[in-house]
């Protein structure tokens, strides 16, 4: 799977993502600067975590206006895969590629710890290597991960079975319906707050995150 990782100023988990891609895909991802206006031929676009534009206006709001995003939207429209993690998830919601929004954590503090997630469905390109209902570990590290959507949108996400992951034990950031990650309608776009890319090596404490990338490699 040909992969590109978008680099917005202030993004800081692009190296983590590249490590995960190398481990599962056996190939080097391309790094793509946000001022580019076209994407090379790619199967998967990844928007990694960080603080694009310092989170100064609203997390992801400025990155969503970057020149590259028109090409990302075209990639989405043609059915391409997109993975947005943490700030990447925020950027996807700001760009309108996923519904909802990520608000300040309920306790108004940055939260960095391992969290447990329930895998809600396994018939997707992102989750095929997990078991249905399985609980996995993933580190989270964010100040704005409180998923919010109006009741109609939540009902749509639930009704269409578009929840990818839910917080299994503790919903620390206050997310609606314990939502940690969601799919687009066509299941080709995944946005989630925790960081599977930081748990792909037993040395770092586990490999629960690696199966997400193994799933993509097999897609």
């Amino acid at each position: 799977m040909k992969t590109g990782i978008l680099i917005f100023p202030g993004i800081n988990r692009e190296r983590d993502m590249a490590i995960a891609i190398r481990a599962s895909f056996g190939a080097e991802p391309q790094m793509i600067w946000h001022k580019e206006t076209a994407l090379p031929a790619l199967d998967l676009v990844i928007i990694p975590g960080g603080f694009s534009f310092g989170d100064y206006l609203r997390c992801g709001a400025m990155a969503a206006q970057s020149p590259i995003m028109a090409a990302v939207k075209a990639h989405a429209a043609s059915g391409g895969y997109i993975l947005g993690v943490c700030n990447g998830f925020q950027i996807l919601t700001e760009a309108g590629l996923l519904p909802g929004a990520l608000l300040r954590n309920a306790g108004l503090r940055f939260l960095s710890m391992d969290t447990r997630l329930t895998v809600e469905r396994t018939d997707t390109a992102f989750t095929s290597h997990y078991q249905q209902g399985q609980t996995i570990r993933a580190p989270m590290a964010h100040g704005d991960g409180n998923f919010f959507a109006e009741p109609k949108t939540l009902a749509y996400l639930e009704g269409e079975n578009l929840i990818a992951f839910r917080y299994a034990d503790a919903n620390r950031n206050g997310s609606a319906n314990n939502i940690a990650g969601i799919f687009s309608k066509n299941l080709r776009i995944l946005g989630l707050m925790p960081h599977p890319e930081d748990l792909v090596d037993p040395l770092m404490g586990g490999t629960d995150g690696k199966r997400l990338f193994d799933s993509l490699a097999a897609a």
């Binding site: 190296r15 960095s112 580190p139 770092m204």
Partner: protein, 723 residues
């Protein structure tokens, strides 16, 4: 403004120092010149009280590439790589404005490290706060923790370790000591000595504003009730710009454009330009009209003394200037050629067609004040006599684990991103030192900060020995080979002989310990005048230390697991003087602190490390604050595993809570062979217990406590405080 002795005094120059300025200049200085002298000769920049003592520290070893004198220390860690690191204080600003004070402390130390060509891979923080019962302490803790997180999380450097203590001596003067560790190719280290007559001097990063003017001078004075009025001298951090600066600088450093580079830290443009030109034995001419400015109508004085953050000064090859500009413009950073290198040996500052400063560099550096301040030493404290145990062992354990100094710091480190970078092998509180792997290699660095200020207050020399030894021990307890130290010397007013005596004694202790343990000091920072209303902090020589593991997979943590047996390494005499048990249970802070026999330290540590690297040890924890039983409980809690103790037979507080040094607990699957190897090596070792599945900590006499009870006590302090 008229230049007078009294103006000079308000800038922090005493009458003798002002006379020196007059004699160097041969005329009245301009305001800008006076400002330059005052910040360069401030304690913060000149080390005028500490320099004569600092030279007693050992700073060399075959693996030291650059010791003190550069922006940070550089050591060879093999495979063509260098570790670059330093610890630096931001104490005074953090008291005045905790969030920004701590945030800019992190920003400043990051710049010291990436200035030298390193990608920062880890941050640590050594924090000391006042009495938790005071509302102001809570406000400061909250602001400092948010500030450290707010900056480090955004820049994307994992905050992986540190320490936090509380003591009323820090009520008006918290300590925020930030450490950054970076990695570079050892043949691509960037230094600050300017060279090349005519080469352009380039300013990059944020624009210059009026923030932080005279910050270095503020950091060189005591506090009083008017200190809050000094808030405008605290800078405001912008971690987003810092992140861009890291990436842009590293991109430029991959080329051959840079001749010299230095960050604009304390005393901003003044210290960076003076130091770069001075080290290179050249001159420098600046045209301030070209300095990117955030505010209108700034004067030369303001621009030279501003401590606006996220700025760097470089000397570059003229033929690379255009390429360099393109890189910084790509990252949306200001880039301006603001001067050039000259052969005049002078710093000349021009603004709006007027020469605002023209100072010979050699006397500015060579004639800087250097003080042999009087020292006075307190007699060593008498040893603690016999004491009675008023509450018994397990109640004391529960109380100790809950006290602010020993309580879990989870509430703090859960606000720090400790995993960004994807290389964090041991996260906070899972091992005695943080372990960060070096991407693309099998190696890892072990990182720690240590100091026990109550020991240093009782006996500064013994306390400093202990601080170095504990850092060495914490690295050893993970399996790492300790390599080098960065020190952050936090003391009171050096003009007081007793404070200067504490400083001198601490240096003597550190020097002895660093020599005995082959643990050179390669960088550091001195923070003096840590006093409020005439009361000094506890002497706090914080030690930051770096060790290396050839194979990251060999690192061990401290979690006890089922099947493990506990082996105690080292002698237990039962030293309760200055112990936490004495303070927390009896409310007393007296007696002599424990002493470290450096030969024993080395023998015990070398044995433990060899056992870890041979794969015989599943977990390891050093014994420090709270002694044996606290260490056992910490291992049990970390592993959520019960433990039953069969030894020691002695049952008093001395045995369980004494803080004798050079001791470790090993969790091993095979206690017999370990004991026999220890015996052959002449290392004191005892098999004192084993892991259980009953979720209790059980003493040899059968008394037991439920682990979740201990857990609740241990985890409760911070969440309850901030509930």
């Amino acid at each position: 403004m008229e230049i007078t002795e009294s103006l000079a005094k308000s800038f922090g120059l005493n009458p003798e120092e002002y006379d020196k300025v007059l004699s160097i200049m041969g005329r009245l200085p301009t305001l800008t010149e006076l400002g330059i002298f005052s910040v360069m000769w401030s304690e913060h920049c000149s080390y005028k009280s500490s320099k004569i003592w600092l030279k007693n520290l050992p700073t060399t070893a075959p693996w030291v590439i650059h010791g003190p004198g550069e922006n940070a220390g550089v050591i060879d860690i093999g495979d063509g790589l260098a570790a670059i690191f330093k610890m630096e204080s931001h104490n005074h600003p953090s008291f005045i404005e905790p969030y920004q004070g701590a945030a800019t402390g992190v920003g400043g130390i990051l710049r010291d490290v990436f200035t030298m060509g390193a990608r920062p891979i880890a941050n640590l923080n050594a924090l000391r706060f006042g009495d938790p019962k005071l509302p102001v302490t809570k406000r400061i803790v909250d602001g400092v923790v948010r500030g450290i997180g707010g900056y480090g999380n955004c820049v994307g450097v994992p905050t992986v370790g540190g320490e936090t203590n509380f003591h009323p001596a820090y009520n008006g003067n918290p300590l925020v000591n930030a450490m950054t560790v970076g990695i570079a190719a050892k043949d691509k280290i960037f230094l600050s000595a300017a060279a090349g007559i005519g080469n352009p001097v380039v300013y990059v990063g944020s624009k210059t504003g009026r923030d932080g003017i005279h910050g270095a001078t503020m950091a060189s004075a005591e506090f009083d009730e008017t200190s809050a009025e000094k808030r405008p001298t605290v800078q405001v951090g912008d971690p987003f710009t810092e992140k861009l600066l890291v990436e842009a600088c590293l991109e430029l450093m991959a080329t051959d454009a840079i001749v010299a580079i230095q960050d604009m830290g304390a005393a901003g443009l003044t210290s960076s330009s003076v130091e770069m030109a001075g080290k290179g034995n050249v001159g420098i001419e600046l045209n301030l009209d070209a300095v990117p400015q955030r505010e209108t109508g700034m004067t030369a004085y303001e621009m030279m003394l501003s401590e606006s953050q996220e700025r760097m000064l470089m000397v570059i090859k003229p033929e690379r200037a255009e390429m360099a500009r393109n890189i910084f413009e790509k990252w949306d950073l200001d880039y301006a050629i603001i001067g050039h290198i000259t052969d005049t040996g002078r710093i000349i500052v021009k603004h709006l067609g007027v020469t605002e400063a023209d100072i010979p560099l050699a006397p500015l550096a060579d004639d800087a004040p250097l003080y042999h301040r009087p020292v006075e030493y307190l007699p060593k404290p008498a040893p603690l006599g016999e004491v009675q145990d008023p509450i018994g062992i397990l109640p004391a354990l529960e109380k100790l684990l809950a006290c602010p100094d020993l309580a879990s710091k989870r509430w703090i480190f859960d606000q720090y991103d400790s995993t960004v970078g994807g290389q964090t092998v041991k996260r906070p509180a899972t091992a005695d030192a943080a372990i960060v792997k070096l991407e693309g290699t099998a190696k890892a660095l072990a990182l720690t900060t240590d100091c026990t200020p109550r020991y240093c207050a009782a006996d500064p020399e013994a306390g400093a020995v202990q601080a170095v030894a504990e850092a060495w021990r914490n690295l050893t307890a993970t399996g790492a080979r300790p390599l080098a130290v960065t020190d952050n010397m936090n003391f009171g007013n050096p003009e007081k002989p007793l404070v200067m005596g504490q400083f001198a004694a601490a240096i003597t202790g550190m020097a002895a310990a660093c020599r005995a343990l082959d643990f050179p000091v390669v960088s550091g920072n001195v923070s003096l005048y840590n006093e409020t209303d005439g009361r000094a902090i506890l002497p706090t020589p914080a030690i930051g230390a770096v060790g290396v593991l050839q194979n990251a997979a060999q690192a061990v943590g401290l979690a006890l697991q089922p099947g493990h047996h506990l082996i105690l390494i080292g002698e237990t005499a039962g030293h309760l003087g200055q112990s936490l048990w004495l303070r927390e249970i009896l409310g007393r802070e007296d007696g002599s602190p424990p002493t470290v026999n450096l030969n024993v330290e080395r023998q015990n540590g070398d044995f433990v490390r060899a056992e870890i690297l041979a794969g015989h040890v599943a977990a390891c924890h050093d014994l420090s604050d709270g002694g044996l039983l606290v260490a056992i409980a910490e291992m049990a809690l970390a592993g959520h595993t019960g433990v039953t103790l069969t030894l020691p037979a002695e049952t008093g507080a001395k045995t369980w809570f004494g803080e004798d040094q050079s001791r470790y607990l090993l969790a091993v699957p095979d206690p017999k062979t370990l004991l026999s190897r220890a015996q052959s090596a002449g290392i004191p070792a005892a098999h004192i217990g084993h892991a259980t599945d009953d979720n209790h900590l059980t003493l040899p006499d059968g008394a037991a406590i439920f682990l979740p009870t201990l857990q609740a006590a241990h985890e409760g302090f911070f969440p309850n405080w901030f509930a």
